[in-house]
Symmetry: C2
Subunit: 140 residues, 2 copies
DNA sequence: ATTTGTGCAAATCGTTTGCATCTGA
DNA sequence: TCAGATGCAAACGATTTGCACAAAT
């Protein structure tokens, strides 16, 4: 179930303790209006412009991080400076296509990691990231 | 067994098809002279300076990438803009301490991933990265 | 002699910040 | 009203590039 109306998003934001401002609601609709998404700040910015919702890049960054802090998004580290944000916040893993730069979810049900060592003393495992890197078969 | 002398490094570089220049040999000694290491460009630069082997940062980057291309190093994407290079090029996974920014190898023997889905059509799995993120137990 | 590598400084990329202005409750 | 949000432009950190000079075969 994906909230698609502005009203749904307003509720979502209020529930998360965030003021439903014009920009946040607009970005919320883009992010949560359809199925799971993987966006970069730049991509979201372009989408907003395209939909005639001018939002500054600074606000895009602020919003992505705020959404992440309240658990509406999950940040995925892939490489380089580019940060990806995933609307699927459940525990799951990713395919990453090096060629296109696209991220895809992997169903967690199927995958299982065994023999994971204990965390060193005084440390706790916060999260396990699994990234399956893909290349075009033809090449290489 | 880790090559520690300049001569060993010269052989290593020649074998990899790289000219054994002053700088590359010096960096090779730092990287491969002792056990497995995880370095950033900045760290390696500082080490070189400390050992009175002035190498420009640009050359550090060139060298790290060249070494990676010929398989002497492996790049590990963790987060942000900072790139880590690992002298252990075998297939293995990592602990990452968010607090200290330190990377540690995980023995691959123990760990096993099951139920990994097929790569999508036209794509091949190039590599599977597993990063176990650690936080200090006290905190959180 | 020819090819390849190096160093510097400037340029680039994604991201963050300072601060004046605006907006939602 | 007024805390909090936004936009702009400048600042940033890690990395890269262009090009003159130096070193390796």
């Amino acid at each position: 179930m994906h909230p698609s109306t502005g009203q749904d998003i307003v509720k979502l934001l209020r529930g998360a303790g965030l003021r439903p401002t014009r920009q946040r609601v607009a970005l919320g609709v883009l992010l949560f209006g359809s199925g799971d998404r993987h966006v970069t700040a730049e991509l979201l910015h372009e989408e907003a412009q395209a939909r005639k919702v001018p939002v500054s890049l600074a606000t895009i960054y602020n919003t992505l991080h705020q959404f992440t802090e309240v658990g509406l998004l999950r940040e995925v580290a892939v490489e380089g400076a580019k940060a990806y944000f995933d609307t699927n916040t459940s525990n799951h893993y990713h395919f990453f296509c090096e060629h296109s730069g696209k991220l895809m979810d992997i169903d967690t049900d199927q995958i299982r990691i065994e023999g994971l060592p204990e965390a060193p003393d005084g440390m706790t495992i916060a999260r396990v990231d699994v990234l399956v890197r893909l290349v075009n078969t033809s090449k290489r």
